[in-house]
Symmetry: C2
Subunit: 298 residues, 2 copies
Protein backbone atom coordinates (compact mmCIF):
# COMPACT_ATOMS: atom_id res chain seq x y z
CA UNK A 1 0.00 0.00 0.00
CA UNK A 2 1.23 3.42 -1.01
CA UNK A 3 0.12 5.87 1.67
CA UNK A 4 0.56 8.96 -0.52
CA UNK A 5 -1.72 7.52 -3.20
CA UNK A 6 -4.19 6.38 -0.56
CA UNK A 7 -4.33 9.84 1.00
CA UNK A 8 -4.73 11.52 -2.35
CA UNK A 9 -7.57 9.21 -3.37
CA UNK A 10 -9.32 9.64 -0.08
CA UNK A 11 -8.89 13.41 -0.09
CA UNK A 12 -10.58 13.67 -3.46
CA UNK A 13 -13.46 11.43 -2.34
CA UNK A 14 -13.90 13.63 0.73
CA UNK A 15 -13.68 16.84 -1.28
CA UNK A 16 -16.36 15.76 -3.70
CA UNK A 17 -18.65 15.04 -0.73
CA UNK A 18 -17.72 18.26 1.10
CA UNK A 19 -19.18 20.36 -1.69
CA UNK A 20 -22.03 18.01 -2.48
CA UNK A 21 -23.43 18.15 1.07
CA UNK A 22 -23.03 21.92 1.43
CA UNK A 23 -25.65 24.39 0.17
CA UNK A 24 -24.45 25.79 -3.18
CA UNK A 25 -22.29 28.89 -3.19
CA UNK A 26 -25.09 30.72 -5.02
CA UNK A 27 -27.77 29.88 -2.43
CA UNK A 28 -29.31 32.92 -0.72
CA UNK A 29 -27.72 34.85 0.91
CA UNK A 30 -24.81 34.13 -1.46
CA UNK A 31 -22.00 35.89 0.41
CA UNK A 32 -22.14 33.51 3.37
CA UNK A 33 -22.16 30.42 1.18
CA UNK A 34 -19.33 31.84 -0.92
CA UNK A 35 -17.31 32.37 2.26
CA UNK A 36 -17.99 28.81 3.42
CA UNK A 37 -17.00 27.38 0.02
CA UNK A 38 -13.94 29.61 -0.12
CA UNK A 39 -12.55 28.42 3.18
CA UNK A 40 -13.39 24.80 2.46
CA UNK A 41 -11.66 24.92 -0.91
CA UNK A 42 -8.42 26.26 0.55
CA UNK A 43 -7.27 22.64 0.44
CA UNK A 44 -5.51 20.99 3.29
CA UNK A 45 -4.93 17.31 3.80
CA UNK A 46 -8.48 16.45 4.89
CA UNK A 47 -6.83 14.38 7.61
CA UNK A 48 -9.75 14.33 10.05
CA UNK A 49 -12.28 12.93 7.56
CA UNK A 50 -9.71 10.46 6.27
CA UNK A 51 -8.99 9.33 9.83
CA UNK A 52 -12.68 8.82 10.54
CA UNK A 53 -13.14 6.67 7.43
CA UNK A 54 -9.93 4.74 8.10
CA UNK A 55 -10.90 4.04 11.70
CA UNK A 56 -14.32 2.81 10.61
CA UNK A 57 -12.72 0.48 8.07
CA UNK A 58 -10.07 -0.67 10.55
CA UNK A 59 -12.82 -2.16 12.74
CA UNK A 60 -14.75 -3.72 9.89
CA UNK A 61 -16.87 -1.16 8.00
CA UNK A 62 -17.35 -2.60 4.50
CA UNK A 63 -18.19 0.71 2.83
CA UNK A 64 -17.01 4.21 3.46
CA UNK A 65 -19.91 5.97 1.69
CA UNK A 66 -22.42 5.86 4.58
CA UNK A 67 -19.75 7.41 6.83
CA UNK A 68 -19.23 10.44 4.57
CA UNK A 69 -21.65 12.75 6.44
CA UNK A 70 -19.56 12.18 9.56
CA UNK A 71 -16.31 12.71 7.65
CA UNK A 72 -17.55 15.97 6.16
CA UNK A 73 -19.00 17.26 9.43
CA UNK A 74 -15.54 16.85 10.98
CA UNK A 75 -13.94 18.86 8.17
CA UNK A 76 -16.60 21.59 8.47
CA UNK A 77 -15.83 21.80 12.17
CA UNK A 78 -12.10 21.95 11.50
CA UNK A 79 -12.65 24.72 8.95
CA UNK A 80 -14.88 26.68 11.33
CA UNK A 81 -12.15 26.54 13.96
CA UNK A 82 -9.53 27.77 11.46
CA UNK A 83 -11.71 30.67 10.29
CA UNK A 84 -12.32 31.87 13.84
CA UNK A 85 -8.72 31.21 14.84
CA UNK A 86 -7.42 33.41 12.01
CA UNK A 87 -9.50 36.43 13.09
CA UNK A 88 -7.64 39.56 14.23
CA UNK A 89 -8.98 39.09 17.79
CA UNK A 90 -7.49 35.58 17.86
CA UNK A 91 -4.32 34.48 16.02
CA UNK A 92 -4.61 37.34 13.50
CA UNK A 93 -3.41 35.40 10.48
CA UNK A 94 -3.83 37.03 7.08
CA UNK A 95 -3.03 33.84 5.21
CA UNK A 96 -4.15 30.26 5.44
CA UNK A 97 -2.57 27.63 3.19
CA UNK A 98 -1.14 30.34 0.97
CA UNK A 99 -4.49 32.03 0.36
CA UNK A 100 -5.82 35.15 2.09
CA UNK A 101 -7.81 34.07 5.12
CA UNK A 102 -11.60 34.26 5.16
CA UNK A 103 -11.86 37.61 6.94
CA UNK A 104 -9.34 39.20 4.56
CA UNK A 105 -11.60 38.33 1.63
CA UNK A 106 -15.10 38.64 3.10
CA UNK A 107 -14.60 40.90 6.11
CA UNK A 108 -14.64 40.00 9.79
CA UNK A 109 -18.41 39.96 10.22
CA UNK A 110 -19.01 37.47 7.43
CA UNK A 111 -16.02 35.38 8.56
CA UNK A 112 -17.45 35.08 12.07
CA UNK A 113 -20.80 34.06 10.59
CA UNK A 114 -19.21 31.63 8.11
CA UNK A 115 -17.51 29.86 11.01
CA UNK A 116 -20.77 29.81 12.95
CA UNK A 117 -22.55 28.45 9.89
CA UNK A 118 -20.05 25.63 9.31
CA UNK A 119 -20.28 24.61 12.95
CA UNK A 120 -24.07 24.71 12.86
CA UNK A 121 -24.25 22.86 9.56
CA UNK A 122 -22.02 20.09 10.83
CA UNK A 123 -24.69 19.15 13.38
CA UNK A 124 -27.41 19.28 10.76
CA UNK A 125 -25.36 16.94 8.60
CA UNK A 126 -24.71 14.53 11.48
CA UNK A 127 -28.45 14.00 11.91
CA UNK A 128 -28.49 12.70 8.34
CA UNK A 129 -26.47 9.67 9.42
CA UNK A 130 -29.83 8.32 10.64
CA UNK A 131 -31.52 9.01 7.28
CA UNK A 132 -32.58 7.15 5.18
CA UNK A 133 -34.27 5.35 8.02
CA UNK A 134 -31.87 2.82 9.35
CA UNK A 135 -28.58 3.92 7.80
CA UNK A 136 -27.24 3.90 11.35
CA UNK A 137 -29.16 3.24 14.58
CA UNK A 138 -30.53 6.46 16.05
CA UNK A 139 -28.92 5.76 19.42
CA UNK A 140 -25.52 5.59 17.70
CA UNK A 141 -26.10 8.88 15.90
CA UNK A 142 -26.99 10.57 19.18
CA UNK A 143 -23.87 9.09 20.79
CA UNK A 144 -21.79 10.54 17.96
CA UNK A 145 -23.35 14.01 18.24
CA UNK A 146 -22.74 13.90 21.98
CA UNK A 147 -19.14 12.74 21.54
CA UNK A 148 -18.31 15.42 18.97
CA UNK A 149 -20.01 18.30 20.80
CA UNK A 150 -18.08 17.40 23.94
CA UNK A 151 -14.79 17.10 22.07
CA UNK A 152 -15.12 20.55 20.51
CA UNK A 153 -16.50 22.34 23.58
CA UNK A 154 -14.80 24.14 26.45
CA UNK A 155 -13.35 20.86 27.74
CA UNK A 156 -11.87 20.20 24.29
CA UNK A 157 -11.10 22.26 21.20
CA UNK A 158 -12.44 25.58 22.54
CA UNK A 159 -10.62 25.05 25.83
CA UNK A 160 -7.38 24.68 23.87
CA UNK A 161 -8.05 27.85 21.92
CA UNK A 162 -8.76 29.76 25.13
CA UNK A 163 -5.51 28.70 26.79
CA UNK A 164 -3.61 29.37 23.55
CA UNK A 165 -5.13 32.85 23.33
CA UNK A 166 -4.25 33.58 26.95
CA UNK A 167 -0.69 32.31 26.51
CA UNK A 168 0.09 34.78 23.76
CA UNK A 169 3.27 36.69 24.48
CA UNK A 170 3.81 34.84 27.78
CA UNK A 171 6.33 32.14 28.59
CA UNK A 172 4.61 28.75 28.33
CA UNK A 173 5.74 25.63 30.17
CA UNK A 174 5.50 22.07 28.87
CA UNK A 175 2.26 21.13 30.70
CA UNK A 176 0.54 24.22 29.26
CA UNK A 177 1.87 23.49 25.77
CA UNK A 178 0.61 19.93 26.11
CA UNK A 179 -2.78 21.13 27.31
CA UNK A 180 -3.09 23.48 24.33
CA UNK A 181 -2.22 20.85 21.75
CA UNK A 182 -4.13 17.98 23.34
CA UNK A 183 -7.23 20.17 23.25
CA UNK A 184 -6.83 22.53 20.32
CA UNK A 185 -5.66 19.88 17.86
CA UNK A 186 -5.79 16.55 19.65
CA UNK A 187 -9.45 16.55 20.67
CA UNK A 188 -10.77 16.75 17.11
CA UNK A 189 -8.26 14.14 15.87
CA UNK A 190 -9.35 11.82 18.62
CA UNK A 191 -13.06 12.30 18.14
CA UNK A 192 -12.61 11.79 14.38
CA UNK A 193 -11.02 8.42 15.01
CA UNK A 194 -13.44 7.39 17.76
CA UNK A 195 -16.63 8.39 15.96
CA UNK A 196 -15.44 6.73 12.76
CA UNK A 197 -14.74 3.59 14.79
CA UNK A 198 -18.18 3.81 16.42
CA UNK A 199 -19.86 3.90 13.00
CA UNK A 200 -17.74 0.92 12.01
CA UNK A 201 -19.05 -1.02 15.00
CA UNK A 202 -15.93 -0.98 17.20
CA UNK A 203 -15.82 -2.97 20.42
CA UNK A 204 -14.80 -1.35 23.72
CA UNK A 205 -11.22 -2.70 23.60
CA UNK A 206 -10.93 -1.49 20.01
CA UNK A 207 -12.16 1.97 21.02
CA UNK A 208 -9.63 2.05 23.83
CA UNK A 209 -6.76 1.08 21.52
CA UNK A 210 -7.83 3.61 18.91
CA UNK A 211 -8.15 6.32 21.55
CA UNK A 212 -4.55 5.73 22.55
CA UNK A 213 -3.52 5.64 18.89
CA UNK A 214 -5.26 9.01 18.42
CA UNK A 215 -3.31 10.57 21.30
CA UNK A 216 -0.04 9.38 19.79
CA UNK A 217 -0.98 10.57 16.34
CA UNK A 218 -2.01 13.99 17.67
CA UNK A 219 1.26 14.39 19.53
CA UNK A 220 3.40 13.26 16.58
CA UNK A 221 1.43 15.59 14.32
CA UNK A 222 1.95 18.61 16.54
CA UNK A 223 5.66 18.00 17.07
CA UNK A 224 6.29 17.61 13.34
CA UNK A 225 4.23 20.76 12.79
CA UNK A 226 6.55 22.61 15.12
CA UNK A 227 9.60 21.09 13.43
CA UNK A 228 8.32 22.10 9.99
CA UNK A 229 7.92 25.66 11.19
CA UNK A 230 11.66 25.64 11.89
CA UNK A 231 13.06 23.44 9.13
CA UNK A 232 10.29 23.28 6.53
CA UNK A 233 10.10 24.71 3.04
CA UNK A 234 7.82 27.76 3.05
CA UNK A 235 6.79 27.21 -0.58
CA UNK A 236 5.58 23.67 0.20
CA UNK A 237 3.93 24.69 3.47
CA UNK A 238 2.10 27.61 1.88
CA UNK A 239 3.05 29.79 4.84
CA UNK A 240 6.24 31.46 6.04
CA UNK A 241 8.44 29.39 8.33
CA UNK A 242 9.90 30.73 11.55
CA UNK A 243 6.55 32.24 12.58
CA UNK A 244 6.53 30.47 15.96
CA UNK A 245 9.96 31.83 16.82
CA UNK A 246 8.94 35.29 15.62
CA UNK A 247 5.83 35.22 17.81
CA UNK A 248 7.96 33.79 20.66
CA UNK A 249 5.55 30.89 20.71
CA UNK A 250 6.53 27.89 22.81
CA UNK A 251 6.96 24.75 20.71
CA UNK A 252 8.07 21.20 21.40
CA UNK A 253 11.53 21.77 19.87
CA UNK A 254 11.96 24.99 21.86
CA UNK A 255 10.98 23.31 25.14
CA UNK A 256 12.42 19.82 24.59
CA UNK A 257 15.25 20.53 22.17
CA UNK A 258 15.15 19.34 18.56
CA UNK A 259 16.73 15.96 19.27
CA UNK A 260 14.31 15.05 22.06
CA UNK A 261 11.40 16.29 19.94
CA UNK A 262 12.41 13.94 17.12
CA UNK A 263 12.90 11.07 19.54
CA UNK A 264 9.37 11.60 20.88
CA UNK A 265 7.96 11.33 17.36
CA UNK A 266 9.77 8.00 16.91
CA UNK A 267 8.39 6.77 20.22
CA UNK A 268 4.88 7.73 19.12
CA UNK A 269 5.31 5.75 15.91
CA UNK A 270 6.60 2.66 17.63
CA UNK A 271 4.00 2.71 20.39
CA UNK A 272 1.21 3.23 17.85
CA UNK A 273 2.26 0.04 16.06
CA UNK A 274 2.08 -1.82 19.38
CA UNK A 275 -1.34 -0.41 20.10
CA UNK A 276 -2.66 -1.53 16.70
CA UNK A 277 -1.19 -5.05 16.99
CA UNK A 278 -4.60 -6.69 17.42
CA UNK A 279 -6.00 -5.09 14.25
CA UNK A 280 -6.03 -6.70 10.80
CA UNK A 281 -4.37 -5.34 7.67
CA UNK A 282 -7.43 -3.12 7.36
CA UNK A 283 -5.70 -0.88 9.88
CA UNK A 284 -2.69 -0.42 7.59
CA UNK A 285 -3.69 3.12 6.60
CA UNK A 286 -3.65 4.06 10.30
CA UNK A 287 -0.25 2.40 10.71
CA UNK A 288 1.25 4.09 7.66
CA UNK A 289 -0.20 7.47 8.58
CA UNK A 290 2.21 7.68 11.50
CA UNK A 291 5.30 7.47 9.32
CA UNK A 292 3.63 9.69 6.73
CA UNK A 293 3.27 12.33 9.43
CA UNK A 294 6.93 12.07 10.36
CA UNK A 295 8.05 12.32 6.74
CA UNK A 296 5.66 15.00 5.52
CA UNK A 297 6.97 18.27 4.20
CA UNK A 298 3.73 20.27 4.46
Amino acid sequence: MNIDEYLQQRASIVEEALFRFLPEATAFPPVIHEAMHYSLSAGGKRLRPILALAAGEAVGAQQYEPMLPLACALEYIHTYSLIHDDLPAMDDDDFRRGKPSCHKVFGEGIAILAGDALLTYSFELLTKLAVPEGAYPESLVIQIIQQISTAIGTGGLIGGQVVDLQSEGRPVDLPTLEYIHRHKTGALFKTSILTGALLGGASSPQLEALGRYADLLGLAFQITDDILDIEGDASLLGKPTGSDAKKQKATYPSLLGMEEARRTVEQCISESLDVLRGFSEKADPLRLLMTYIRNRNR
Copy 2:
Protein backbone atom coordinates in the same frame (compact mmCIF):
# COMPACT_ATOMS: atom_id res chain seq x y z
CA MET B 1 -54.29 33.47 34.72
CA ASN B 2 -51.95 36.40 35.26
CA ILE B 3 -49.47 36.37 32.39
CA ASP B 4 -46.89 38.56 34.18
CA GLU B 5 -46.79 36.19 37.13
CA TYR B 6 -46.66 33.19 34.82
CA LEU B 7 -43.74 34.65 32.88
CA GLN B 8 -41.88 35.53 36.05
CA GLN B 9 -42.33 32.05 37.50
CA ARG B 10 -41.28 30.39 34.30
CA ALA B 11 -38.27 32.67 33.86
CA SER B 12 -36.97 31.73 37.30
CA ILE B 13 -37.47 28.03 36.62
CA VAL B 14 -35.57 28.40 33.37
CA GLU B 15 -32.80 30.44 34.98
CA GLU B 16 -32.19 27.87 37.65
CA ALA B 17 -31.82 25.21 34.95
CA LEU B 18 -29.65 27.44 32.72
CA PHE B 19 -26.94 27.56 35.34
CA ARG B 20 -27.44 24.02 36.58
CA PHE B 21 -26.81 22.49 33.13
CA LEU B 22 -23.82 24.70 32.32
CA PRO B 23 -20.27 23.86 33.44
CA GLU B 24 -19.48 25.95 36.54
CA ALA B 25 -17.93 29.39 36.06
CA THR B 26 -14.81 28.12 37.84
CA ALA B 27 -14.31 25.10 35.53
CA PHE B 28 -11.05 25.13 33.61
CA PRO B 29 -10.31 27.28 31.67
CA PRO B 30 -12.25 29.69 33.92
CA VAL B 31 -12.33 32.76 31.67
CA ILE B 32 -14.48 31.11 29.02
CA HIS B 33 -16.97 29.77 31.55
CA GLU B 34 -17.09 33.16 33.28
CA ALA B 35 -17.88 34.79 29.94
CA MET B 36 -20.65 32.27 29.25
CA HIS B 37 -22.15 32.79 32.70
CA TYR B 38 -21.81 36.56 32.40
CA SER B 39 -23.76 36.75 29.17
CA LEU B 40 -26.40 34.29 30.35
CA SER B 41 -26.95 36.21 33.57
CA ALA B 42 -27.57 39.49 31.77
CA GLY B 43 -31.24 38.67 32.19
CA GLY B 44 -33.75 39.00 29.42
CA LYS B 45 -37.22 37.58 29.31
CA ARG B 46 -36.22 33.96 28.56
CA LEU B 47 -39.01 34.04 26.00
CA ARG B 48 -37.69 31.24 23.78
CA PRO B 49 -37.42 28.64 26.56
CA ILE B 50 -40.79 29.73 27.95
CA LEU B 51 -42.35 29.38 24.50
CA ALA B 52 -40.92 25.87 24.12
CA LEU B 53 -42.33 24.74 27.46
CA ALA B 54 -45.67 26.44 26.82
CA ALA B 55 -45.99 24.85 23.37
CA GLY B 56 -45.23 21.42 24.84
CA GLU B 57 -47.87 21.90 27.50
CA ALA B 58 -50.37 23.30 25.00
CA VAL B 59 -50.38 19.96 23.19
CA GLY B 60 -50.54 17.85 26.32
CA ALA B 61 -47.13 17.54 28.03
CA GLN B 62 -47.90 16.79 31.68
CA GLN B 63 -44.55 17.95 33.04
CA TYR B 64 -42.19 20.64 31.93
CA GLU B 65 -39.09 19.25 33.68
CA PRO B 66 -38.06 16.73 30.99
CA MET B 67 -38.26 19.53 28.42
CA LEU B 68 -35.80 21.78 30.27
CA PRO B 69 -32.69 20.67 28.32
CA LEU B 70 -34.46 21.82 25.14
CA ALA B 71 -35.55 25.07 26.76
CA CYS B 72 -32.03 25.83 27.96
CA ALA B 73 -30.39 24.88 24.66
CA LEU B 74 -32.62 27.44 22.95
CA GLU B 75 -31.54 30.15 25.39
CA TYR B 76 -27.86 29.22 24.96
CA ILE B 77 -28.33 29.57 21.21
CA HIS B 78 -30.07 32.92 21.62
CA THR B 79 -27.26 34.13 23.87
CA TYR B 80 -24.57 32.95 21.42
CA SER B 81 -26.28 34.91 18.66
CA LEU B 82 -26.41 38.05 20.83
CA ILE B 83 -22.73 37.80 21.81
CA HIS B 84 -21.61 37.48 18.18
CA ASP B 85 -24.11 40.11 17.03
CA ASP B 86 -22.71 42.66 19.52
CA LEU B 87 -19.14 42.29 18.23
CA PRO B 88 -17.48 45.32 16.63
CA ALA B 89 -17.43 43.54 13.25
CA MET B 90 -21.19 43.02 13.47
CA ASP B 91 -23.66 45.40 15.20
CA ASP B 92 -20.92 46.89 17.39
CA ASP B 93 -22.98 47.28 20.55
CA ASP B 94 -21.16 48.13 23.77
CA PHE B 95 -24.17 47.41 25.93
CA ARG B 96 -26.67 44.61 26.18
CA ARG B 97 -29.59 44.90 28.60
CA GLY B 98 -27.86 47.75 30.39
CA LYS B 99 -24.65 45.79 31.02
CA PRO B 100 -21.40 46.04 29.04
CA SER B 101 -21.51 43.44 26.28
CA CYS B 102 -19.39 40.28 26.48
CA HIS B 103 -16.50 41.55 24.35
CA LYS B 104 -16.29 44.78 26.36
CA VAL B 105 -15.67 42.75 29.52
CA PHE B 106 -13.70 39.74 28.24
CA GLY B 107 -12.23 40.98 24.97
CA GLU B 108 -13.22 40.07 21.44
CA GLY B 109 -11.34 36.78 21.25
CA ILE B 110 -12.99 35.32 24.34
CA ALA B 111 -16.38 36.70 23.27
CA ILE B 112 -16.12 34.92 19.91
CA LEU B 113 -15.18 31.70 21.71
CA ALA B 114 -17.91 32.12 24.35
CA GLY B 115 -20.47 32.35 21.56
CA ASP B 116 -18.96 29.31 19.86
CA ALA B 117 -19.03 27.44 23.17
CA LEU B 118 -22.68 28.22 23.90
CA LEU B 119 -23.66 27.09 20.41
CA THR B 120 -21.63 23.91 20.75
CA TYR B 121 -22.91 23.19 24.24
CA SER B 122 -26.51 23.57 23.15
CA PHE B 123 -26.10 20.51 20.90
CA GLU B 124 -24.41 18.55 23.66
CA LEU B 125 -27.34 19.36 25.94
CA LEU B 126 -29.91 18.37 23.31
CA THR B 127 -28.47 14.86 23.18
CA LYS B 128 -29.34 14.58 26.88
CA LEU B 129 -33.03 14.64 26.01
CA ALA B 130 -32.54 10.96 25.19
CA VAL B 131 -30.89 10.24 28.56
CA PRO B 132 -31.80 8.63 30.91
CA GLU B 133 -32.62 5.97 28.37
CA GLY B 134 -36.12 6.57 27.18
CA ALA B 135 -36.76 10.12 28.41
CA TYR B 136 -37.68 10.85 24.81
CA PRO B 137 -37.48 8.51 21.82
CA GLU B 138 -34.13 8.80 20.08
CA SER B 139 -35.76 9.44 16.72
CA LEU B 140 -37.55 12.45 18.21
CA VAL B 141 -34.31 13.83 19.66
CA ILE B 142 -32.63 13.56 16.26
CA GLN B 143 -35.60 15.28 14.64
CA ILE B 144 -35.26 18.12 17.15
CA ILE B 145 -31.52 18.51 16.58
CA GLN B 146 -32.15 18.55 12.84
CA GLN B 147 -34.96 21.08 13.18
CA ILE B 148 -32.93 23.45 15.37
CA SER B 149 -29.71 23.26 13.34
CA THR B 150 -31.68 24.09 10.19
CA ALA B 151 -33.52 26.97 11.87
CA ILE B 152 -30.30 28.61 13.06
CA GLY B 153 -28.25 27.98 9.89
CA THR B 154 -27.76 30.02 6.73
CA GLY B 155 -31.39 29.46 5.72
CA GLY B 156 -32.49 30.75 9.13
CA LEU B 157 -30.94 32.81 11.91
CA ILE B 158 -27.50 33.20 10.29
CA GLY B 159 -29.09 34.12 6.96
CA GLY B 160 -30.96 36.91 8.75
CA GLN B 161 -27.78 38.16 10.37
CA VAL B 162 -25.98 38.16 7.01
CA VAL B 163 -28.67 40.23 5.27
CA ASP B 164 -28.87 42.55 8.29
CA LEU B 165 -25.11 43.03 8.20
CA GLN B 166 -25.16 43.75 4.49
CA SER B 167 -28.05 46.21 4.81
CA GLU B 168 -26.18 48.44 7.22
CA GLY B 169 -26.21 52.04 6.05
CA ARG B 170 -28.28 51.18 2.97
CA PRO B 171 -31.93 51.87 2.31
CA VAL B 172 -33.94 48.71 3.06
CA ASP B 173 -37.31 47.90 1.53
CA LEU B 174 -40.14 46.04 3.24
CA PRO B 175 -39.39 42.58 1.75
CA THR B 176 -35.78 42.85 2.93
CA LEU B 177 -36.86 44.01 6.39
CA GLU B 178 -39.28 41.09 6.54
CA TYR B 179 -36.57 38.66 5.45
CA ILE B 180 -34.22 39.92 8.14
CA HIS B 181 -36.73 39.63 10.94
CA ARG B 182 -38.32 36.37 9.82
CA HIS B 183 -34.85 34.84 9.86
CA LYS B 184 -32.84 36.70 12.48
CA THR B 185 -35.57 36.65 15.15
CA GLY B 186 -38.45 34.64 13.75
CA ALA B 187 -36.63 31.40 12.97
CA LEU B 188 -35.55 30.77 16.57
CA PHE B 189 -38.98 31.74 17.94
CA LYS B 190 -40.59 29.33 15.53
CA THR B 191 -38.23 26.44 16.21
CA SER B 192 -38.68 27.00 19.96
CA ILE B 193 -42.41 26.59 19.61
CA LEU B 194 -42.23 23.69 17.17
CA THR B 195 -39.61 21.67 19.04
CA GLY B 196 -41.45 22.21 22.33
CA ALA B 197 -44.60 20.99 20.63
CA LEU B 198 -42.75 17.98 19.20
CA LEU B 199 -41.59 16.98 22.70
CA GLY B 200 -45.17 17.40 23.88
CA GLY B 201 -46.33 14.95 21.22
CA ALA B 202 -48.04 17.38 18.84
CA SER B 203 -50.01 16.09 15.84
CA SER B 204 -49.36 17.41 12.32
CA PRO B 205 -52.35 19.80 12.38
CA GLN B 206 -51.24 21.07 15.78
CA LEU B 207 -47.72 21.67 14.46
CA GLU B 208 -49.14 23.55 11.50
CA ALA B 209 -51.28 25.76 13.71
CA LEU B 210 -48.41 26.44 16.10
CA GLY B 211 -46.09 27.23 13.19
CA ARG B 212 -48.52 29.90 12.02
CA TYR B 213 -48.88 31.15 15.59
CA ALA B 214 -45.08 31.42 15.79
CA ASP B 215 -44.94 33.54 12.63
CA LEU B 216 -47.56 35.91 14.04
CA LEU B 217 -45.80 36.09 17.40
CA GLY B 218 -42.45 36.81 15.75
CA LEU B 219 -43.92 39.59 13.63
CA ALA B 220 -45.78 41.17 16.54
CA PHE B 221 -42.64 40.94 18.67
CA GLN B 222 -40.48 42.66 16.09
CA ILE B 223 -42.95 45.46 15.37
CA THR B 224 -43.36 46.22 19.08
CA ASP B 225 -39.58 46.13 19.41
CA ASP B 226 -39.34 48.79 16.73
CA ILE B 227 -42.10 50.83 18.37
CA LEU B 228 -40.36 50.63 21.76
CA ASP B 229 -37.19 51.95 20.17
CA ILE B 230 -39.17 55.06 19.21
CA GLU B 231 -41.59 55.48 22.12
CA GLY B 232 -40.16 53.32 24.89
CA ASP B 233 -38.60 54.28 28.21
CA ALA B 234 -34.83 53.87 28.00
CA SER B 235 -34.53 53.12 31.73
CA LEU B 236 -36.98 50.21 31.45
CA LEU B 237 -35.48 48.95 28.19
CA GLY B 238 -31.93 49.02 29.55
CA LYS B 239 -30.74 50.62 26.31
CA PRO B 240 -31.04 54.04 24.72
CA THR B 241 -34.09 54.64 22.53
CA GLY B 242 -33.89 56.18 19.09
CA SER B 243 -30.95 53.97 18.13
CA ASP B 244 -32.68 52.64 14.98
CA ALA B 245 -33.34 56.18 13.73
CA LYS B 246 -29.78 57.22 14.61
CA LYS B 247 -28.37 54.25 12.67
CA GLN B 248 -30.88 55.02 9.87
CA LYS B 249 -32.12 51.49 10.31
CA ALA B 250 -35.32 50.58 8.51
CA THR B 251 -38.09 49.56 10.92
CA TYR B 252 -41.75 48.65 10.57
CA PRO B 253 -42.93 52.07 11.79
CA SER B 254 -40.54 53.85 9.43
CA LEU B 255 -41.67 51.77 6.44
CA LEU B 256 -45.37 51.30 7.27
CA GLY B 257 -46.07 54.35 9.39
CA MET B 258 -46.80 54.09 13.11
CA GLU B 259 -50.53 53.63 12.70
CA GLU B 260 -50.25 50.79 10.20
CA ALA B 261 -47.54 49.16 12.35
CA ARG B 262 -49.89 49.16 15.35
CA ARG B 263 -52.74 47.84 13.23
CA THR B 264 -50.56 44.95 12.06
CA VAL B 265 -49.85 44.01 15.69
CA GLU B 266 -53.59 43.93 16.40
CA GLN B 267 -54.14 41.74 13.33
CA CYS B 268 -51.45 39.34 14.54
CA ILE B 269 -53.16 39.08 17.93
CA SER B 270 -56.57 38.42 16.49
CA GLU B 271 -55.34 35.90 13.91
CA SER B 272 -53.31 34.08 16.57
CA LEU B 273 -56.46 33.56 18.65
CA ASP B 274 -58.18 32.12 15.57
CA VAL B 275 -55.25 29.81 14.93
CA LEU B 276 -55.32 28.50 18.51
CA ARG B 277 -59.10 27.97 18.53
CA GLY B 278 -58.78 24.17 18.50
CA PHE B 279 -56.51 24.14 21.57
CA SER B 280 -57.66 23.70 25.16
CA GLU B 281 -57.14 26.15 28.00
CA LYS B 282 -53.64 24.70 28.27
CA ALA B 283 -52.77 27.02 25.39
CA ASP B 284 -53.79 30.09 27.42
CA PRO B 285 -50.17 31.14 28.06
CA LEU B 286 -49.64 31.22 24.29
CA ARG B 287 -52.82 33.24 23.84
CA LEU B 288 -51.95 35.73 26.58
CA LEU B 289 -48.37 36.09 25.37
CA MET B 290 -49.62 37.92 22.29
CA THR B 291 -51.25 40.70 24.28
CA TYR B 292 -48.33 40.71 26.70
CA ILE B 293 -46.05 41.43 23.76
CA ARG B 294 -48.23 44.32 22.61
CA ASN B 295 -48.38 45.83 26.10
CA ARG B 296 -44.77 45.29 27.17
CA ASN B 297 -42.57 48.21 27.99
CA ARG B 298 -39.22 46.45 27.71
